[in-house]
């Protein structure tokens, strides 16, 4: 039996009205109890499903309203205790739940790991063994490649730099220990250690905070469609959703007020905000009032502002231009299949540097150009958050959190005067965790560092 508890989202992303986060392992039930508001899961019967809420125990925030299945070993898929948390479909809820689970003691499952455990615990028969091996081989290699490819060059560069700094610190401590009489190696002091750990900790925290609000890659680019009634906002919505298979479809009216559509445009995930509003009233400004629409705009990463080619620019359009000033937006001049009444020069003047795209959604023209404009906005870093380094991979985020925690342990130790060589255990751990992000855990590098950085010998 394995000792740790693993978890993963077990339903395919982008399909179905519910999503399941599954846990397997000895602590599956106790971890879930910690974050579950409802019946005491430790006491419920095996193979029961229980209604309640998943809460973040630190903030008491509700992550989702859920149904939790409790299945105790050995009558389970893996022959370990299994918990299945049925969340609302949609990336946001399920990712939020997964995050809470990860923060409370479960480890992200490796590809094929549930199956592997099922096998190791004798649940799967012999004939399936080879298939499982191939699966693991393929999935692990692929996952590694994908994770590495996903990683922004800047991110891996930053991680490497942080690692190098930690490595130099650790090497110095090691030299102090292994060559105590060498006078030309400065003795690592608590003060130096404090400066170093604080520096690296700040960088990691910065990455994490961006990762947290950095919804872009993880949750999609929050995108609002605005414009006067009948300019074609609804058609634009539908076009984007149809052209690009919707990642997630939410059934409105269950738990959330704001309904979101997820689409993937040339690799850029868009979260189309408040689409229900557009669908129902054709005009968010009209429906929820200017104040509220400002709020929606503020939470958007990208605004698609639709104008009618067949209509003159009116005061309301100018007001909308004023309202979105300072945001990233794309002006879409729709209905080019009709006669021109719009003053294009004025539009150009108002839009300034922001891109302008002409479309006829009805004739399905200009959609490519629009998608390109969206992708360019994203990839050319013209977005507000463009020059930040993103961490999008849940595994990476998880490792960063552990690294941050290890450094906090070290920093705590520094304050109460724990000996340097013991603090160094946590610093080394941080270095290893960061190494797992960039796929480098070779422990020999420390020894190499030792002998290249310092002159030692008899």
């Amino acid at each position: 039996m394995e000792t740790d508890t693993i978890t993963a989202i077990s339903t395919p992303i982008g399909e179905g009205a519910i999503a399941i986060v599954r846990l397997s392992g000895p602590d599956a039930v106790s971890i879930t109890s910690k974050i579950f508001k409802g019946k005491n899961l430790q006491e419920v019967n095996s193979h029961t499903i229980n209604y309640g809420k998943i809460i973040n125990p630190e903030t008491n925030e509700i992550a989702d309203e859920v149904m939790v299945s409790v299945m105790r070993a050995p009558r389970t898929f893996t022959r370990e205790d299994i918990i299945e948390i049925n969340c609302h479909g949609g990336m946001t809820a399920v990712k939020r739940v997964l995050e809470v689970v990860l923060n409370n003691g479960a480890r992200l499952a490796e590809p094929g790991e549930f199956t592997k455990r099922a096998f190791l615990n004798g649940r799967i028969d012999l004939s399936q063994a080879e298939a499982v091996m191939d699966l693991i081989r393929a999935k692990t290699d692929k996952a590694m490649n994908v994770a590495l490819k996903q990683m922004d060059g800047r991110l891996s560069g930053l991680i490497q730099r942080l690692r190098q700094e930690l490595l130099e610190t650790v090497a110095q401590v090691e030299v102090n220990i292994d060559y105590p009489e060498y006078d030309d190696v400065e003795e690592m002091s608590h003060e130096m250690m404090r400066t170093k750990t604080k520096e690296v900790h700040e960088e990691i925290e910065k990455l994490l905070s961006i990762a947290k609000q950095g919804k872009i890659l993880r949750e999609g680019l929050a995108t609002a469609i605005i414009g006067r009634p009948n300019v074609g906002k609804s058609s634009l919505m539908n076009t984007l959703v149809q052209e690009n298979k919707a990642i997630v479809t939410d059934v409105p009216g269950t738990t959330r007020d704001i309904i979101e559509e997820y689409v993937n445009v040339r690799g850029v995930p868009l979260k189309l905000v408040d689409t229900a509003g557009i669908r129902e009233t054709e005009d968010i400004v009209e429906k929820i009032g200017v104040e509220r629409s400002r709020q929606v705009l503020k939470e958007s990463d990208l605004i698609l502002f639709v104008l009618n080619y067949n209509d003159e620019l009116v005061e309301e359009d100018e007001k909308l231009f004023a309202a979105i000033k300072g945001f990233d937006y794309i002006v879409i001049i729709n209905k080019t299949d009709l006669a021109q009444k719009l003053d294009l020069n004025r539009v150009k003047q108002l839009a300034g540097d922001q891109p302008i795209v002409s479309t006829s959604l009805i004739e399905e023209e200009g959609i490519d150009a629009l998608e390109k404009a969206i992708a360019d906005t994203f990839f050319e870093g013209e977005l507000d958050a463009g020059d930040m380094t993103y961490v999008s991979n849940v595994r990476h985020i998880n490792l960063l959190k552990q690294a941050s925690k290890a450094l906090e342990d070290a920093m705590e130790g520094i304050e109460i005067g724990v000996p340097i060589d013991i603090l160094q255990i946590d610093v080394t751990r941080t270095w290893e965790l960061l190494g797992e992000i960039v796929g480098d855990t070779a422990s020999d590098s420390l020894i190499d560092q030792l002998f290249s950085q310092f002159c030692l010998g008899k």
Binding site: E110, I177, P180, D183
Partner: protein, 629 residues
């Protein structure tokens, strides 16, 4: 070749250096009839390089050897000329003893132990070949045509196999310090099919003490209250000799740079691999050219000799250049070299050919230990020696083999590294090689290993009883401290003030106060009723266990995870070619190393987590298949 039958033994140990003596003594004390063969009875446990024992990590190995019933600690405790505890300003995990040895006394003492050991026969002789029958080692044949038969043979020939001394363009076949090299055994091992490689190490010149002007150097005295390596030592030597510190300078570096081409290592001839941590002075000056000076320690080689070891000046430059170098160093301007420094090249058995018991995979009953396996250092040799001795005797006597894991001992780290990862330079133990350094402390070597030593019959009942008592006293004291409340009062106020500690605001458990880094056991003791039953060493043990409880717990959790993987055994007869899905590199490595456990497999470089998963499943599949059959 006609040889005569010279007798049958349970275990034969070839070589009587630091590995050999531990192997011989351990095997004999476990009850195996043991023969030790050495090519010169006057050189038993000789120190061909630095006259010292211990140091960071290494000193802890000496403690571990002692806790297992070995002899190195006891002998150095009797023969040191200086003892120092290193890293006293740091945490308990990295503190370590180092002694300067009286080389001659050390050898004599060791020889006397061997001579008086029951079950042990000591004989002079050069082993030329092994007697191998059907892949099993049955004995050895000496140069003088004696065939000694045995059920297990341990080779501990150090740097003697095809040893070659290098000094400038002078080179000659030789063991260390101009002893005879062993030329035939290497050849024999190669014929049997062992893979050998070439390593290199070096030693500095020795100078005569009365030619040194010590007034130009800094004194480096021993500790006022010297501690002991062995848990059985009760008396310390208080009359100690100091070492002396001086430095190289720009003139030294100039001489070396001017003559660099003459160094055997820089002359362009391809040579055995040297160790990065043991560079020659010419290496240091080339690689760290910006450093204006390097430390030179002057270490006496004994009480009754004038010879002084010039630590830091290891070199293979020609003798006449060494004379010039010496003259540039403050205090050594008129120093006379007694023996020049030299480099030595030698054959090494590639250690991936060994099981973690140090038995060779190819030939059953054949063990190798010590510098021959690619390590460097007397302590590393001793650690392997005792394990090879234990496992050879265990094999002969039908007992279970003993493999120490990485959380039990530095010896475990050392052997696991050697057999699992191999080494491409002489391997030295460093504290950073241990993942669980906090558990592998100087102070708790007995707690880690005495039990094992006792079970093997290497620890006397008297010593064992003392150990059990100590363990109990420490536990009782921890429990007592948990139950004592210290309330703020005048006395407490004073103690806190003296310790520079934050004043107590409300009552606290003595146990919790001891956790504070600034409060020692002695400080706590002043505030509570003292426990007269405890020795200082036991008090220290209590303090360490309490103070670092959180960290120790964390380390133990890691160890438990690691041990889970160690417990998953890989069948010895596994056929890696039969496993589909293994990456080619992983397959080749696994075939070569033949790990005994999944844990060991996961430490092989080039074997990645996917391969481990596949291996796990394959093994499980086999077991299911067995059940099904």
């Amino acid at each position: 070749m006609t040889t005569y039958n010279a007798g049958h033994y349970d275990v034969i140990v070839v070589g009587a250096g630091h590995a050999g003596v531990e192997a011989g003594v351990a095997a004999a004390r476990m009850g195996a009839k043991t023969l030790m063969l050495t090519l010169n009875l006057d050189m038993i446990a000789f120190m061909p390089c630095n006259p010292s024992v211990g140091g960071p990590a290494k000193g802890i190995v000496v403690r571990e050897v002692d806790a297992l019933g070995g002899v190195m600690g006891k002998v150095i405790d009797k023969t040191y000329i200086q003892m120092r505890m290193l890293n006293t300003g740091k945490g308990p995990a990295v503190q370590a003893l180092r002694a300067q040895a009286d080389k001659t006394l050390y050898m004599n003492e060791m020889k006397s132990i061997l001579e008086n050991e029951e079950n042990l026969t000591l004989r002079q002789g050069m082993v030329d070949s092994l007697i191998i029958e059907d892949g099993v080692c049955k004995g050895v044949v000496t140069e003088t045509k004696a065939s000694y038969f045995a059920d297990a043979v341990i080779i501990t020939t150090g740097t003697f196999m095809r040893g070659k001394v290098l000094m400038g363009n002078v080179e000659y076949e030789s063991g260390p310090n101009n002893q005879r090299p062993s030329l035939n055994l290497s050849k024999n091992l190669e014929e049997i099919g062992f893979e050998l490689t070439r390593f290199k190490t070096g030693t500095p010149p020795r100078v005569i003490s009365h030619s040194i002007d010590y007034s130009k150097t800094e004194i480096q005295p021993g500790d006022d209250n010297p501690k002991s390596f062995s848990y059985e030592t009760t008396e310390q030597i208080l009359d100690q000799l100091p070492c002396w510190l001086t430095y190289t300078n720009e003139f030294t570096h100039q001489v070396i740079n001017d003559n660099l081409g003459l160094s055997s290592m820089y002359s362009g001839v391809k040579r055995g691999t040297g160790a990065r941590y043991c560079p020659s002075i010419e290496d240091k000056i080339v690689r760290f050219s910006d450093k204006p000076r390097h430390q030179i320690f002057l270490e006496p080689e004994g009480r009754d000799t004038e010879e002084v070891y010039v630590q830091g000046l290891s070199t293979s430059l020609p003798e006449y250049v060494q004379n010039e170098i010496i003259k540039t160093i403050p205090g050594l301007e008129n120093a006379q070299i007694m023996r020049p420094g030299y480099a030595i090249e030698y054959d090494v058995v590639v250690p991936s050919q060994l099981w973690p018991t140090l038995e060779t995979k190819k030939i059953a009953g054949l063990f190798t230990a010590g510098q021959l396996n690619g390590t460097s250092g007397y302590e590393e040799a001793a650690g392997q020696g005792i394990m090879a001795g234990i496992n050879a005797a265990a094999k002969v006597l039908g007992k279970e083999p003993v493999i120490l894991d990485r959380s039990q001992a530095y010896i475990g780290v050392l052997i696991d590294d050697l057999v699992t990862k191999g080494t491409n330079e002489p391997y030295r133990l460093l504290t950073s090689r241990a993942e669980y350094r906090l558990l592998l402390r100087h102070d708790n070597a007995d707690l880690r290993l005495t039990e094992i030593g006792h079970e093997l019959g290497l620890i006397s009942e008297e010593r064992y009883n003392k150990f059990v008592e100590k363990k109990q006293l420490v536990e009782e004291e921890k429990e007592r401290l948990r139950n004592i409340m210290i309330k703020p009062n005048e006395l407490v106020h004073k103690v806190m003030e003296e310790a520079n500690a934050a004043q107590l605001k409300e009552a606290a458990k003595a146990y919790d106060l001891l956790k504070r880094p600034e409060l020692s056991y002695n400080a706590i003791e002043q505030m509570i009723e003292p426990n007269p039953k405890l020795t200082d060493e036991q008090k220290e043990q209590v303090a360490i266990q309490v103070k670092y409880e959180g960290y120790i717990k964390k380390a133990n959790e890691q160890v438990n995870r690691m041990l889970k993987m160690e417990d998953k055994k890989v069948p010895v007869n596994i056929d890696y070619d039969d496993i589909s899905g293994l990456a080619t590199e992983a397959r080749e490595k696994l075939k070569k190393i033949h790990p005994l456990s999944i844990g060991q497999a996961s430490r092989i470089s080039g074997v990645n987590p996917a391969d481990i998963s596949i291996l796990l499943i394959y093994i499980e599949q086999g077991q299911i298949a067995k059940v099904a059959n």
